[in-house]
Symmetry: C4
Subunit: 207 residues, 4 copies
Amino acid sequence: MLTCVTEYNALSGRSLERVLVLVDGVFAIVMTLLVLDLRLPQAHAATSHELWSQLTDLAPQFGAYALSFSMLGTFWLAEHSLLGHMRTSDRTLAWTVLTFLFFVTTLPFTASVLADHTHLRLAVWIYWANLLMLGIALGWQLVHAARAELGDPAAPAVRLLWRRLLLAQTLYAAGALVTIISPVAGIIALAVCQLFFMISPRLPWAV
Amino acid sequence: MLTCVTEYNALSGRSLERVLVLVDGVFAIVMTLLVLDLRLPQAHAATSHELWSQLTDLAPQFGAYALSFSMLGTFWLAEHSLLGHMRTSDRTLAWTVLTFLFFVTTLPFTASVLADHTHLRLAVWIYWANLLMLGIALGWQLVHAARAELGDPAAPAVRLLWRRLLLAQTLYAAGALVTIISPVAGIIALAVCQLFFMISPRLPWAV
Amino acid sequence: MLTCVTEYNALSGRSLERVLVLVDGVFAIVMTLLVLDLRLPQAHAATSHELWSQLTDLAPQFGAYALSFSMLGTFWLAEHSLLGHMRTSDRTLAWTVLTFLFFVTTLPFTASVLADHTHLRLAVWIYWANLLMLGIALGWQLVHAARAELGDPAAPAVRLLWRRLLLAQTLYAAGALVTIISPVAGIIALAVCQLFFMISPRLPWAV
Amino acid sequence: MLTCVTEYNALSGRSLERVLVLVDGVFAIVMTLLVLDLRLPQAHAATSHELWSQLTDLAPQFGAYALSFSMLGTFWLAEHSLLGHMRTSDRTLAWTVLTFLFFVTTLPFTASVLADHTHLRLAVWIYWANLLMLGIALGWQLVHAARAELGDPAAPAVRLLWRRLLLAQTLYAAGALVTIISPVAGIIALAVCQLFFMISPRLPWAV
């Protein structure tokens, strides 16, 4: 029985292409599911003025939506930077990617918890815990890829990926710390971190 | 730290294939999510006559659905015409495409706002604002691709893509202007613009 | 202006690969969305017996689900048989495929109308009208592919695809006619047609 | 008429690539749809303490979610191990994969039945019946691939895939048997089986 499983492991999860398509599929769906939290009240607005006030009431939801969408963009780019320097896949890598995707799929839930409770520290910390789990899943992929020699040996990327990952997680943790002062300050800190990562390739000093 | 980010940028978002798969995934989901707004009332119809009147009550929703689906088709074709003449991708292009996809995912929301408030000018303008943001995101991709020399130099397409984009946005803006007369006239104007783009390849004078 | 649009048409919708990925994406989502109609009542069952009776109450929904899933499977295979013999794509083909996908996305709606009104002729006819529109969209693709010479000239498939399409639509239309006798008879007729298409490759007389 | 269908069958379902993309798409969506069952009560929590107790109330849902996600991961890997050793596809294989995908799409439903009725034997058995149908659909693919000689003859994988499939289904059936003692014991047994399959590639004795 054990031999059977061992041999099966040698066979399973080999195709990097299939892993990549699953990653793209899950991200595409999660990015789109976020929008389902944007819902006007059942009672239809009778005037443009009323509609406008209904829309402005949705501002926190829209903010959480935009923040989560850009977080997902960042992690999507990070995952592909990581998988892009692999030569091959194996069963363990497939499971580490599935773990990463699991925490991608929980992001719409933690984002909606945050959007509905912007005044609660716990809501910010749950959102941050989700980001932390995503970072841990990425780190696990790097550790395994190094140990199983899945990476392209010519690529000097691993050290770079590690530093970027630790930098991002340090900034997110700082944002979570700021939450002790006030939940709103924590959310703003996380949003500023996120903006830094999005804008960085466009800064004149070439960050 | 800054060097780390710079080097990471050089590594990230390189795969055009992954960007294309994400685009197709998001469009496929958004096109399908639109249908979730088509819902009969909870109380089941007892007769065919009653069912028919329930279905005809859904006509504005169905109209908004068909209009938004064909808008999505137009933008999907536009995005692939644009990405199709690129040789490569980079991190900034990936972010401009993600920005484009963000406004693709908001379309089911703005379309449902429009479907529920066909009598309000603001609803038409919010829908149009969504189309405008999609156009801006496409324009940003063209600007960046030219500056970063991502495009295929042999392709004479850039000028063509620009003219097409500006033509489309001018027509949409005209539709938004017509809304000043009446919201329904604005919706009809947008639908006529849309029909023009869909039918154009089939006109005898080869538009 | 017209020249611009003409030239743009020559550029747009060229990639068959992108069309194929969009088709697969839309089918994957629609197949999965169907299951959202399977919902137990809000009040949780206290005993296994009660749960069993709640589940058996869902039987019409489950039947409509299985029928629609296998319809989608049939049309997915039909669309890929059709696109599989194309050498290239163009803007018009992309729009005919988008039209086909539009009626794919309406299938969860017409299927839920059918599941909730199995006693109404109109519900069966609306479902059948959806199947007819899918057939017309497939026929339009064949007509355009022949006219624009998109197909592989070596492939003797076109005649075969036409005959298969007309056979399927004739059987569906017969099912719709049977509905005049009774709605349930019509549903059974459609299900029998569907079963014939699914089982045909496995019959001993090699149908 | 029969000849037409025969010839059509020879033409249809040939592209293994399309089948693989559909499989990835359906799995990506089902994995993400599972999260829709995670919903906080409508009334927003006023304090972090209240939010925490709302979140802990979701623990069974979260457990069912994590279990089902990892089940889906296992079956996704199994399906790709199976399809990965095929040289080609045919119409019957496409239908066996569609049957497999049908029972993949029912998993969010059976998982939510289980999450809402952890105290009922019937709920566990319905969940297990879903796993059994997935196993039967995989077995059917293996039987057909052997008969139609779709597999790569050089691959010694078929025997291995069979043994793995039977081992998994034996363990799941054992879990279903344990349910006779108590529903919760059955759920734990299924979770332990699942954990075994996930952890196996990482055990020091190389299982």
